[in-house]
């Protein structure tokens, strides 16, 4: 592909991303649900009622809840029981996870989905090791390649560079009414100079995902240079290595969700 052809394809892809109906990515009901989950006192009946209007989302929640990743001792068949058992924070995480877990047989798309899930896993683990709040970083990890997933086209990897990904983030994530901090964290990952600690953490989590997925499953073939980010977070390479290997069994369970 010539440079001109590539630039044309990139522009076309970004245009089609801007034209996406965001209600297809996150329905109004899902948005209401996420708002309800942030309330000080959650209304289980209301949450369960909203979920009955979204059978596909309900099915995904039950599938993820019953997976070895969550490891409940018996099958949870009832969505109300799932809501009570999981609690608002975990349920919100699962709902965001369902945004990236689109059904597809395309192996290239599945690589991006796996990378989203594993980056989120490592973002959460690194946050917890540094005593930072994990939820926002988990969400940023999940959603940092959401534009690629929802506007996927074959051989898209050839089009992607830092600039295209940064612009795709602006085009989509701002329109989904996501927390501003999360959108800023994700945007920062594609910029060379970002002083935000959460962005630094996300860059490192991104790298751990590329390493953990291996040559055949990683959608990106290069690591981000995180020399400054190690310093920014004050995390030793040996500690990061421990985190990497500790999460491998969880990573394996998570990848089974992507059939």
């Amino acid at each position: 592909m010539s440079t001109a052809e590539k630039q044309t394809r990139q522009l076309n892809w970004l245009s089609s991303l801007e034209a996406i109906d965001t209600s297809q990515v996150m329905s109004a009901n899902t948005r209401s649900l996420l708002d309800e989950l942030q309330a000080d006192a959650i209304d289980i009946k209301k949450i369960t009622h909203i979920l009955t209007l979204e059978p596909a989302l309900t099915a995904k929640i039950l599938m993820i809840t019953n997976s070895p990743f969550y490891g409940y001792p018996r099958e949870i068949k009832d969505i109300e029981e799932a809501v009570v058992l999981l609690g608002s924070a975990k349920l919100a995480n699962i709902i965001y996870s369902s945004l990236v877990m689109v059904n597809s047989d395309d192996s290239e798309l599945k690589r991006f989905i796996k990378h989203s899930l594993v980056t989120a896993l490592y973002a959460k683990a690194i946050s917890e090791s540094l005593a930072l709040p994990p939820e926002g970083n988990f969400m940023a990890g999940l959603l940092h390649v959401l534009p690629v997933i929802v506007n996927f086209e074959p051989n898209i990897t050839q089009l992607l560079n830092a600039q295209t990904l940064a612009e795709s983030t602006k085009a989509l994530l701002n329109n989904l009414s996501l927390p501003t901090a999360v959108v800023n964290t994700v945007s920062g990952i594609y910029l060379q100079q970002s002083r935000d600690a959460n962005t630094a953490l996300l860059k490192i989590a991104f790298n751990l995902s590329i390493i953990a997925l291996g040559k055949s499953d990683a959608p990106f073939k290069h690591l981000i240079n995180t020399e400054h980010e190690f310093n920014r977070l004050g995390i030793a390479p040996s500690k990061l290595t421990d985190i990497f290997f500790e999460q491998i069994p969880e990573k394996d369970k998570l990848l089974k969700l992507v059939s």
Binding site: T226, E227, F244
Partner: protein, 112 residues
């Protein structure tokens, strides 16, 4: 005889195989092909009750050949991981990135 699933190829199940939810995965009396063994392992079923052929493999007495192949597989996966890290870290010359790569390599050898 209860054996590790990975050693049960060509064995015939002597009990129904159930998943962790109690649902039946395979009934008794089924000959386990390699594909079936892999499917059971994917469902996290690590032990099965089977009747094996003339050369049974049990949990307590792994053969020298099985040990040798485990060692070879471990060396191959270690080597593949090291090569992958060489590729990923090729352009990263900073102190922390180099140290991180070394830590990953050392830890992968310790864990294998």
């Amino acid at each position: 005889m209860r054996v590790k699933t990975e050693n049960a190829v060509n064995g015939k199940t002597t009990e129904d195989i159930l998943n962790e939810n109690g649902g039946m995965v395979l009934p008794a009396g089924v000959q386990l092909s390699e594909a079936l063994v892999n499917a059971l392992l994917n469902q996290n079923i690590l032990h099965v009750d089977v009747e094996l052929g003339e050369s049974p493999q049990t949990d307590n007495a792994p053969t020298n050949e099985k040990k040798k192949s485990e060692v070879e597989n471990t060396s191959a996966s270690e080597k593949a991981f090291a090569e992958y890290l060489d590729f990923l870290f090729l352009r990263h010359r900073g102190q922390f990135m180099k140290e991180f790569k070394q830590c990953l390599l050392q830890k992968s050898k310790q864990d294998s």
